[in-house]
Subunit: 429 residues, 2 copies
């Protein structure tokens, strides 16, 4: 394919006409396609329907230690669930608190607690003039929304294929004690699909933050969410690495089964050092008597153990893999060589990150919408919704059926072409 910039103005204008007519064909189809969020498809949800049968009225809902899961109590989660989630999170079950249905809620509460009560005896953030967070970009919009909600200033840190720019991270956290945290999705990152390199994880564990209450917010949302059986990314386990580096309290690790069992009806957890756990439990005991133990037991009985969970994730992969491959192959077929875009090809997770020419992302998203395709808003992958290059778009292939996805991506590629031509032509004027 000839790069667009090497085409003459006349060629581009002719192509633009052809593409416009193609676009109008899409418009009359009255499409209603939603790729805005990383939601599992109905086909994936069907995989977990057995969850509904593992506990019946004939079953004993008692834990191995005699706890009646139906009654009050057990603040930090039942032992069996800690073992399962411990294996999932690659940490000792004793380093875990099991929460309710949402790891986002755990992260929100972690920030809220730091605001009102501080971290391990440090000044509550609400008493400080300024609190800042580092935000690797592009990143997860709901992370940025939490910090923005609490008035925390966000500083962009660029991501590359190894993770965040660690020179910048090291320098900033060492020199500025108002920096209290960094949001990370270290494996199959949202949205790039990048997994942090070994060197990156080691450098994280060896950070020397100026603030004693600085923590790494390690949202390992896609720890077991591989697309392939063998070609999988591997991440150094951060709690163990921090311990080895002599900084066991440096990290909060979050995870959930939302994209393993059911979104909204899974179980979430935090894994962290004993000091941090103690600090958290001081608050948690006032917030609740305990989370949903019946649902914890349901997960344990359904998955059995981590092997059962991994086998289950292979079934998810069988649904997800063709979708990811459809997206990247359509992008390659339609946009390859045109030099107007680049995109990632992750081996897991829920997203593909797409970069258009600078200044085109908003127009592409708007043009998709006019033809009935909703994609994640341009800018959403940046703090305050401000992508300084207006180029990044998060593609979420999971939700639509494969047939719809193919249509959606063809429309998307078409919009990319049209908007890119418009930009190139405008620049030539």
């Amino acid at each position: 394919m000839q790069p667009y910039t090497e085409m003459s103005t006349e060629e581009l204008q002719a192509l633009r006409k052809k593409l416009s007519s193609h676009y109008r064909e899409f418009q009359v189809k009255d499409l209603r396609l939603d790729m805005s969020r990383g939601k599992p498809s109905a086909e994936q949800l069907d995989l977990s329907m057995g969850m509904m049968d593992v506990l019946s009225s004939e079953d004993d809902l008692t834990c191995e230690d005699g706890t009646d899961c139906r009654n009050y109590g057990v603040l930090t989660g039942i032992k069996e669930a800690k073992e399962l989630i411990g294996d999932m999170m690659e940490v000792n079950p004793e380093n875990i608190i099991i929460y309710g249905n949402s790891s986002l809620n755990v992260m929100f509460d972690t920030i809220a607690r730091s605001m009102t009560h501080g971290v391990m005896g440090c000044t509550p953030w609400c008493k400080l003039d300024k609190v800042k967070f580092l935000c690797p970009v592009p990143g997860y919009d709901r992370h940025f929304a939490i910090t923005e909600y609490f008035g925390i200033e966000m500083i962009n840190v660029p991501m590359d294929e190894n993770g965040p720019d660690m020179d910048m991270v090291e320098q900033l956290v060492a020199s500025d004690d108002t920096i209290k945290g960094i949001w990370c999705v270290p494996k199959y990152s949202n949205p790039t699909g990048t997994s942090y390199s070994d060197a990156t994880v080691r450098r994280f564990a060896r950070l020397k933050p100026a603030a004693p209450d600085f923590r790494i917010y390690w949202d390992n949302a896609y720890g077991v969410h591989h697309l392939y059986d063998h070609d999988q990314d591997h991440l150094i386990e951060i709690l163990a690495e921090c311990k080895r580096a002599g900084a066991p309290d440096l990290v909060y690790k979050f995870s959930s089964t939302s994209k393993i069992s059911f979104p909204g009806s899974g179980i979430a957890a935090i894994a962290t050092s004993h000091n941090n756990l103690e600090d958290i439990e001081k608050q948690l005991k006032f917030q609740t008597i305990g989370h949903d133990k019946v649902n914890q037991l349901r997960h344990v009985r359904f998955f059995g153990d981590i092997h059962g969970m991994c086998e289950h994730m292979r079934l998810h992969a069988d649904v997800m893999r063709p979708k990811f491959e459809a997206v990247t192959s359509i992008l390659e077929r339609e946009l390859g060589g045109l030099e107007i875009a680049s995109w990632t090809s992750p081996k897991g997770g829920y997203f593909i990150s797409f970069d258009s020419l600078d200044g085109c992302a908003k127009s592409i998203v708007a043009r998709c919408k006019k033809a009935g395709l909703i994609i994640t808003g341009a800018g959403a992958t940046y703090p305050y919704g401000r992508d300084p290059h207006d180029s990044n778009i998060r593609i979420a292939p999971s939700y639509p059926p494969l047939g719809d996805l193919v249509v959606a991506m063809e429309l998307f590629a078409l919009c990319v072409k049209i908007v890119s031509i418009d930009k190139i032509l405008a620049e030539r004027k």
Copy 2:
């Protein structure tokens, strides 16, 4: 029975000896009885086991409006659940947000949000020098624990058979704008079992607080938890009353199904005005994508409607009623006429409130413990754990089987007698 104070010192000393020998008989029994918390009994939990069967892998987990309960979304709860819980809370479903498994958690989050972001545009409490709450006493220890955790100063307001001392409440909230709330358990109150009179509820709705961000924290935990079919307390619905009084935003009403379905695996809710809901949702959308809709659907399918729930509560009542009656009849038989104690005889809820002679409660609880009976710590029903009279003890009859409960109450009455005699004799010296 002759009042103890009318007995001679010699008579009391002789009785004391007899009672001591009786107490030693209890001690050798090596009892392990726990009446510390308002936990449903296993027999009650068995009533809800059908919950485990209402959703199976063959069922469609779709709402009437097409929402797939298995997936992400629906921040404020599914429509069907709002209807069921609306009927339970006696409010319009549109005034409800359905939460996770714990109304305590909803209350905690309500206070936390007020601390960091304020109420409907008012200054966040963390920016104020002083925040105070009114606490009707005796009351619920976990309420007081939340306000204490957030550094909120608590002011005791005495309860009588009509509810809190409303003269005091009216005067305080009108004159002091640092008073931001009052904790209420308006029906079958914890621990007295009192239901607020119509006049009390009307006066609540007509409060003229100096603070615009003052709210009534109306924890209607026992709204449908009657002991009798006909002899039931009725409470004026507070949201409607506030609306009629021209102050629709004055109240947050909390409830849950914890003591209806399963404690820890129920669904909780807040009911309040549209202005307050809007204020809450501004925060909630950052905290979570949504609560457990599958569990909401499970509740809807199990109970069907409010009639189904009320029928279910009759089964709970059949288990609870004999326990409440056992407690009051043993207290009457053992302590009636001795003029050393008084207690309540509620028609619902989970507790009986017991008042000993001043200065005896701690000793009674300690003496029970030495013979193997754990009851709620003396002082727990007061803010900061400080009962100024050291006289109130919360009796929680629900958890032990009836046979154990009888033994426990006989031991309890014995301890009350011994401690009371010791006090009377000490005063005569």
